[in-house]
Subunit: 123 residues, 2 copies
């Protein structure tokens, strides 16, 4: 199974737009039912399944989130990308994320690589 | 198991330096005996084991390789990074790579995300 790079980039852009403008359930709906999410990688917690994933995004709903895709790479049914996320105008984080997708374009796994050294305080 | 970000970045820099200045066997020696390598991701081939990995790097030995780390993220015992590789002054590729490491600092898996759209012809 493989997607054209433009299609994969579309999936990623839709994800970033939904993180910025949608509800936690909207974001979780982009994931497969049995998807996994690790954010940050090495943080010791892997969220398994759409319900747990919705819980992960729930904490962001109170904040004003902006996202920007900075650098994108396609690979078969996977994507790797650098993006910026700005939280309530107060801090900016630039993770590298890796996602895999199923044939329906749903996210089956997401891993976000970032740490304190990738956070910039804005205010 | 987890490494400090600086330690992980050191592993990655050593890898990039060895790709640029070492032999295929030198690069393969940075991998664990049973490591896996997928480059490019989605290309349909996964190299398994140090001997197969040495074969993968063998094709680069005839070229003059330069590497530059552009963007680095740490995550537990994993790393994600953007780098540039210049081949004989003729082309420059900018992949995003993801690596995991064992407790000895050996690479246990490497995945490189890039495609034709990430190649710049230099001459």
């Amino acid at each position: 199974m493989s997607f054209e790079p433009d299609v994969l980039q579309g999936f990623v852009q839709r994800y970033l737009d939904t993180v910025a403008g949608g509800s936690a359930d909207d974001v979780a709906a982009l994931y497969a039912e049995d998807a996994t999410l690790e954010d940050p990688v090495g943080g010791g917690e892997i969220h398994i399944g759409r319900q747990a994933i919705a819980g992960f995004y729930k904490v962001m709903e109170a904040a004003e989130i902006k996202t920007e895709l900075l650098n994108f790479r396609a690979g078969g049914h996977e994507a790797a990308f650098v993006f910026a996320i700005t939280v309530s105008g107060a801090m900016r984080i630039e993770p590298i994320e890796v996602m895999s997708f199923n044939g329906d374009g749903q996210i089956t796994s997401m891993k976000a690589y970032w740490g304190p050294q990738n956070i910039t305080q804005l205010s």
